[in-house]
Symmetry: C2
Subunit: 342 residues, 2 copies
């Protein structure tokens, strides 16, 4: 899209930097990148042989350049968010070899002494994906062309990113025009572009969301990664700004089975699923009068298969909406409904 | 409050800078400062004799220093938000004379070539009140001690700041412990401290609001200046974050009589007053389960006295809540209710 310029933009293909990371939870971004964008990942870069293996070919930086890699993606986090010395050496080598570097850690690439100068000399970019673009507009509420789906949640970390990526993949598999729109650092690294919505200055929240999913063809679906949760005592403002700016035709509610309070905000109980959907629809109507819920996506990883089936069936029976676990069985029924009714 | 450190802080008394401004609308901040904090304003500084007269003694910078002034407050805005050359000369003179300077324009004081160095040499501060403090927390939702009132609106520019200041003044006149908490640049200049909430990074919206009205004595009222509006397509996210972080015991709804659509967002009709109150209460319960509305504050400046009386009476009869025009007749009935019921 011509007017879709004010997002973070990354250039594939990628070399996924793993460094010396041995703890799987710290390599979630790299694993997500391989899971959702395998074709963009030409190799991995590990500094020790016991580091996590993402299942990609091990490439030196020279080999990566020769293979056509354009960007080294830092696919790992680290305790405290700082960069160990061994990583920094590799960053300088990659920069001098002509690669962009992209990272989503709290600590900034451009804060590493000398690296920005090295990148300027090499004509490459250091992309801190947590840093939003500079020039964002105020939200206008103007109706945009094309279709939009936003994943929303009963809580943070309830599967909104995974669900959006799964819906985009399912839509593409059926020949829909569809684009995943990322709003958080991991999503942005997977999508190759996006806006880290919770890092945007509050005044521009809705405007950033509008810019993220610009006018498009009437039958094109933007599938937008939600953030926060509308009953959340710390983040609901972000959630509402994203909801208003996204102007979704459709929402999918994401939930983790068994969770009863907001994670790390234990004094705040989660709303019921029906109640939560109602709240999103009520507030979403401000900018999208015909907004509707097209399904429920549940992380049932703590249930056994029998419990899982019963859990999903119960919700379906009560709410008359498809209820899926996207990891266990995909999002097909949700896309069925979209295919049938839009 | 010991822990109330992460706000913008200004040091009175003040010299109010008017410069060469001849258009009253550009001197609204200065006029507000004189209206609400007359005792903190020792004089005004005008560079031309036809500039607006705020009713303060004209003081040279040397006279202001001799009188004990600590801060020069830039009480005027300018088309385009840039600083004219004649103003800058006065800023340097004030800085060298040992005064802090505070301003709320888009263009930053620290961006004026050489001024930051001059301030460093003089040991004075340049305070851009649109710039939020650096270290803001995430909202916790933890219940704080003391009472809180938040002014909310059917729209932006509906009298939220004026109403909050009027309620603080009325409370103080009756011997209440009460503090106005400012969330926008003009309010911050009037209060001498505050957080420009719409300039805060989204993630910290509720946390900033929590920090703005910290734990206090059980019978102390923070009267918090609202921002945006909950049905607003561009700003509702800010409004919700402020609502959640403020944890108000009480809200006062502000409205401009006769306005039917959101100002400058003409495609978005205003909600009805009762409907709008319900929405604020519904969403406010997330962090303040016993939140209630204690009155309605209407700007009736476009009505004649007969129309005004009828308008306010109609709303009172329908909603069984005190409905006042704070400019025409004060906020007494709202504070009456608070005095009776809290």
């Amino acid at each position: 899209m011509e007017n879709h310029v004010a997002t973070v933009e990354l250039t594939p293909p990628y070399l996924v930097f793993v460094g010396d990371t041995t703890t799987p939870v710290f390599a979630k971004t790299g694993a997500g990148l391989v899971h959702w964008r395998r074709n963009s990942c030409l190799g991995q870069y590990r500094t020790t042989s016991d580091a996590i293996d993402l299942g990609l070919p091990d490439l030196s930086i020279a080999e990566a350049v020769a293979a056509g890699v354009r960007t080294m993606m830092v696919g790992v986090a680290n305790v405290g968010g700082f960069y160990p010395e061994t990583w920094i050496d590799a960053f300088f080598e990659a920069t001098r070899a002509g690669l962009d570097i992209a990272a989503g850690m709290h600590s900034r690439l451009i804060g590493l002494p000398g690296l920005a100068d090295a990148a300027a000399a090499a004509g490459t970019r250091l992309v801190d994906v947590r840093v939003p673009p500079n020039k964002l507009p105020i939200g206008t509420g103007r109706k945009r062309t094309g279709r939009r789906l936003l994943t929303v949640g009963t809580d943070c970390a309830s599967g909104k990113k995974y669900t959006a990526l799964a819906i985009e993949r399912e839509m593409k598999a059926r020949g829909f025009k569809s684009t995943f729109r990322a709003t958080g650092q991991t999503g942005i690294m997977i999508a190759g572009s996006g806006i880290p919505i919770d890092a945007v200055v509050s005044d521009f929240l809705a405007g950033a969301a509008e810019m993220l999913s610009p006018d498009n063809e009437p039958d094109h679906w933007d599938v937008i990664e939600g953030q926060g949760a509308i009953y959340h005592p710390g983040y609901a403002g972000v959630t509402l700004g994203l909801l208003h700016g996204s102007q979704p035709d459709a929402i999918v509610l994401c939930h983790e089975a068994g969770r009863t309070t907001h994670e790390m905000w234990d004094d705040f109980p989660l709303p019921g699923i029906a109640e939560c959907i109602d709240r999103y629809l009520l507030l979403g109507r401000t900018t999208s009068p015909n907004i509707r819920c097209v399904g429920i996506s549940v992380n049932t990883s703590k249930l056994d298969p029998v419990q899982r089936a019963r859990y999903l069936e119960d919700i379906e029976a009560k709410l008359h909406l498809s209820c899926v676990d996207p990891v266990a069985s995909g999002v097909g029924p949700i896309v069925d409904l979209i295919e049938r009714e839009f």
